[in-house]
């Protein structure tokens, strides 16, 4: 098990959670609306980050990096509902060189390579194809990297490089069928309008041909009923439900069907994880087989109680939060009020789609004053449960260790 914070004197904000007259949730939110920085409370490096609303079409976001932007969703947003508002959906770019201007009239998506007919599709063409909707979590491969111990280099995300949206778009399969995939195709490679500097490798990612044609992979033009924000990939984004966001190409303008495996750096060499249970090895361990990171794994979070909060003893308290199954739905969520000794099922909220966030809630009561550890655990519909082992690999990927929230019975 691991801690995301310490019950130390550093905690400057405490709230009391307890029962109201009806025994339900009582929560007094003291979270300031005009916050200018956040303390992520992690040892081993700088723990504060600016919060800024200076980025276009974005509300207050945690600035992990100005350029190219790494903007993290402040965690309290996840308590507001399962769909992350577009203005709070996290942002991650690999290269600074992406356009700040996109002309909807002249934009074209090209489909080429191992196909019968090269396509050059306008946005009007794409919006004219049969459309579908899908709720899906976009989560960076390195979400929660800041919590790995020992710390590793990379984007120092806390838990907010994930967001859920209701995506609208067309099936990649339909577009590929329109181009006519030739026999012998093995992969499909995707690229966007962003460009690298100098000789650096363009950010390209590939999916196997069967995955690309599974009817679920989407070319999205809509996000929660609106066009995509520029920083989230306007005008088109590849949505690969259940797979980490490294595959979700933003400003998608190029699709190339390949008749041999992709050898570009990003597909062939980057985003590697150990081929071990929970992608976990010991620091310094060598001769480990590495494989590409692909599907996501189950996770769950308490969103209405934070480490350092005070909780009234002897009365029921409502806990609620979000969970997602990774590459399938949520089967169950269990809460432990006693540091993992006992587990109690939570009620699941409305199912908005197996790839999206699912809200959960339950009540618990603390019998004694003093320190207590709440834990939350998701089991997905494939029977996979979050591990208690601390996930660690040098890339800082795939963290889904059971979360702990340290509270004080008062």
């Amino acid at each position: 098990m691991e801690s995301h914070g310490l019950l130390s004197g550093e905690i400057t904000r405490r709230r009391l959670l307890g029962a109201g007259a009806m025994g339900g949730l009582a929560l007094l939110s003291a979270r300031a609306s005009a916050q200018t920085s956040v303390d992520l409370r992690v040892p081993g490096g700088p723990s504060t980050r600016p919060i800024s609303a200076a980025f276009p079409q974005k509300g207050p976001m945690i600035v992990q990096r100005m350029a190219p932007p790494w903007l993290e969703t402040p965690f309290e947003v996840f308590d507001d509902g399962v769909f992350t508002p577009n203005g709070r959906h996290y942002v991650s770019w690999h290269w600074t060189n992406f356009p700040n201007e996109v002309d909807a009239g002249s934009f074209r998506l090209t489909v080429r390579g191992h196909v019968n007919e090269v396509l050059s599709l306008s946005l009007k063409d794409i919006l004219g194809l049969p459309r579908f909707e899908l709720a899906a979590v976009s989560q960076c491969a390195g979400n929660s990297r800041i919590y790995l111990q020992p710390r590793v280099p990379g984007a120092q995300w806390a838990n907010g490089s994930m967001s859920n949206a209701l995506w609208t778009g067309v099936r990649l399969k339909d577009v590929l069928d329109r181009a006519g995939v030739k026999a012998g195709a093995v992969q499909v490679r995707f690229g966007g309008l962003d460009q690298p500097w100098g000789d650096a490798p363009k950010f390209l990612r590939s999916l196997n041909i069967d995955h690309a044609r599974d009817g679920e992979v989407m070319i999205a033009f809509g996000m929660n009923g609106e066009q995509l924000p520029l920083l989230n990939g306007f005008p088109l984004k590849l949505v690969v439900p259940g797979w980490c966001a490294a595959y979700w190409i933003k400003m998608l303008n190029g699709i190339e069907v390949l008749d041999r495996p992709d050898t570009n750096y990003w597909t062939a060499k980057a985003y590697r994880i150990p081929d071990t249970p929970h992608a976990t090895i010991k620091p310094g361990e060598s001769d480990v087989k590495l494989v590409p990171i692909t599907r996501m794994v189950p996770r769950s979070f308490i969103t209405n109680i934070r480490t350092g909060d005070s909780v009234a003893v002897g009365a029921p308290v409502l806990a609620r939060g979000i969970a997602f199954g990774g590459d399938c739905g949520v089967a169950r969520v269990d809460l432990s009020p006693d540091g993992g000794r006992s587990w109690h099922p939570a009620q699941l909220g409305k199912d908005e789609g197996k790839y999206g966030f699912r809200q959960w809630q339950t009540q618990f009561a603390l019998a004694t004053r003093g320190e207590h550890t709440l834990m939350i655990r998701c089991t997905n519909s494939n029977g996979e449960t979050q591990p208690s082992v601390p996930v660690w690999n040098p890339g800082g990927y795939m963290k889904n260790t059971i979360e702990s929230t340290h509270v004080i019975g008062a």
């Binding site: 949730l25 992990q64 100005m66 600074t96 700040n100 919006l127």
Partner: protein, 113 residues
């Protein structure tokens, strides 16, 4: 200092979750032209600051580096090597060594990774 906030009201259940608007009405996309903020942040002064400023902030702002954890010198050397090999950063061998020393000085550790 503990600052316990007392409760004045109880909320009985999770607030209802509004569904986003349906996208059937999304029949047209509108061109965008927006200002994306840039960064003029420089690395803190000290031996090697010129080398890291001139080699690193063309591709990413300084906060990328300054927000990193403390790392062992070997790990910093691997990071610089990755920038050169994988991301084709045109960093000379001399500058790479100076940058490794700079990073080890401001963000080094013997305990961590």
């Amino acid at each position: 200092m503990r600052n316990i906030l007392l409760l004045t009201a109880a909320i009985l259940a999770a607030s209802p979750l509004p569904l986003p608007a349906r996208a059937d009405a999304l029949t047209e996309l509108h061109s965008l032209k927006l200002d994306v903020p840039a960064s003029d942040m420089m690395f803190p002064d000290g031996p090697g600051a010129d080398a890291i400023n001139s080699n690193c902030i063309a591709c990413h702002s300084a906060d990328h580096v300054l927000n990193q954890p403390s790392l062992q010198k070997e790990t910093w050397e691997e990071v610089i090597h990755k920038m050169i090999e994988a991301y084709k950063a045109p960093i000379s061998q001399e500058d790479a060594a100076v940058i490794a020393d700079y990073l080890t000085r401001i963000k080094g550790t013997k305990q961590g990774y």
